[in-house]
Symmetry: C2
Subunit: 337 residues, 2 copies
């Protein structure tokens, strides 16, 4: 390994609006030697997530921004190629925060061993990874769905949204998904078992919501913000819970974020809007992963990955998230297993 | 009584922006005879509240709008002058939803007897009435303040806000009030015991909040909405609770309500924004009134009323709420006790 080249992508500039190719720096370095306690991993798959856009901005958030000149932060799956940590052996499959690069030497304490027999590797970046954990804890701990509730989720064909709707069904709720385009809408109803889908690109979301949610929305899991958030707020049921998970429609704004004009619906309906960050639930990931793996095994929880290949296309691949072009969890394949 | 004139003010038109005099109709009718089960009350004081503006609008809200041609809805205090209900006798003091008029015949079940020895009558429209109940349940049940928390309240010299800050102090919190003008700011600190006041008309609210809340805002009780809500959202502490009680800055908008651009602070800080409507707590008013009366007796809870006199000036008096001209709970005196 030593002597091999490690290709990396670093953040070169803080983007204004959508990240441009010039916001990135393509570099190469030597594959590092793992130090005492470290594990050298060959990266196989990297997770591309809407949250990455926020990490590129300066300023206070739930996590420190990526520094200019730093390898872009990214979670991934890889194979151990050298280990100076007693918990890991060559050939182990691991997940960790490798960054957009081909090799990473990290402290073993920062890695999690995964069992490739449980599911295909990309699934560990989807239902069994951060998106799955976000859906699980966001819906169950913040959304507090009760059997019979109507649960609406936006970005419903995305990694988080697709899982939210399926968990809602598992918990005895009605699941209504908002997604862009007929193919995604068909997918969440026909393949994932949502009760209905609303195509925000083709339908009047307000009218469709009223039709599909005659008794109002008990839980709204928001991944998108903007006009869709506002529209759903106007349809809340009494004591509704709005889970603020993300706002992908607003991340590339060059103007201020659009606040929800209909927020006084919270007052009228004695409803609640609450934010969540998945990392807070880290101590409970093992239980969630057991539940999710069981549901996958029972055929109740399906996942779909949109796998694009090659480290060098990272800048363009990332943009698929913001155009809505990806279909399923967006994963960047770096190397063959 | 019978044969006497009952002056009334009815809603003549749905206002656009601030209510104009032509939105009201001044009428007179005969004082009604109480029917079986009814009580005829001579109205002494009426409560003027920001929420009245919402009741004048068409459309779904937490309460039906006042109909065009109906006597304007208002709560008040009065004296029983005739009773066909076994629970009430001539001379009793009662509170109820009398409307903007001099006499009202209501079913006894809609009235509450009050004891004028406990406090001056206008106090029953303030700390011992709806504003007090709103402050009590909004802060304690929705805001969930813990001793040591920093509690910020807007409209802090108003009927609800002044009580919120004082209850926060009683519960061992730091209380920071946002109010308009030096006199109101002095009042809430010097007379009511708030820890600090921010004069939004004279200060940079953001800078002052940062100075007074170095560890962030744990509870924000919002009566005003608009820019102040946005500014406080940016200063939330982890797991903060934002109580949405009102949005007086937005009630007379002729453009859409300004949504809070900084709502993603809820995500970053794992915080919650929740609406409340005081009527939901009706079954627990007696306990709250006992607590509040005790605190008044112990000198821990003070109230101030801004009393204006004469049914005919109702239209102009109401506008004082929106200009911020009133100082303390705005009460319209209709007649001498």
């Amino acid at each position: 390994m030593s002597g091999d080249v490690n290709h990396q992508i670093k953040l070169a500039a803080r983007p204004v609006g959508l990240p441009k190719r010039t916001d990135w720096q393509f570099t190469e370095t030597r594959v590092p030697e793992p130090r005492e306690g470290e594990v050298l991993t060959r990266v196989l798959y990297l997770s591309l997530d809407p949250a990455m856009r926020g990490w590129m901005n300066e300023g206070k958030s739930y996590i420190a921004p990526v520094g200019i000149g730093d390898v872009m932060r990214a979670g991934g799956i890889g194979e151990v190629v050298a280990s100076n940590h007693p918990g890991f052996a060559v050939g182990d499959c691991v997940s960790g925060g490798f960054g957009i690069q081909e090799y990473a030497a990290l402290d073993g304490a920062q890695l999690t061993k995964i069992n490739p027999k449980v599911a295909p590797l990309p699934t560990f970046l989807n239902t069994l990874g951060m998106p799955g954990m976000t859906a699980y804890f966001g819906l169950l701990d913040v959304g507090l769905p009760a059997a019979g509730d109507t649960v609406v989720v936006s970005g419903a064909a995305g990694a988080v949204g697709a899982t939210v709707g399926q968990i809602a069904k598992i918990k005895g709720c009605r699941a209504i998904g908002i997604a862009g385009g007929a193919a995604k809408c068909r997918y969440i109803v026909d393949d994932l078992g949502f009760d209905a889908a609303i195509d925000y690109k083709a339908e009047d979301v307000r009218k469709s919501l009223r039709a599909h949610c005659p008794n109002g929305v008990n839980v709204y899991f928001d991944n998108v913000g903007g006009d869709i958030l506002d529209t759903v707020l106007a349809q809340l049921a009494r004591h509704a819970r709005v889970v603020v998970c993300g706002a992908i429609s607003q991340y590339n704004n060059t103007t201020p974020i659009k606040g929800p004009s209909n927020y006084l619906s919270l007052l009228v309906n004695r409803a609640r809007m609450e934010g969540m960050v998945v990392f807070d639930y880290a101590s409970r990931y093992p239980q969630a992963i057991r539940d999710m793996a069981d549901w996958i095994g029972e055929g109740k929880l399906k996942s779909r990955e949109d796998i694009v290949e090659g480290l060098q296309i990272f800048p363009e691949a990332l943009l698929k998230l913001f155009s809505g072009e990806n279909f399923g969890k967006l994963v960047l394949k770096i190397a063959d297993a």
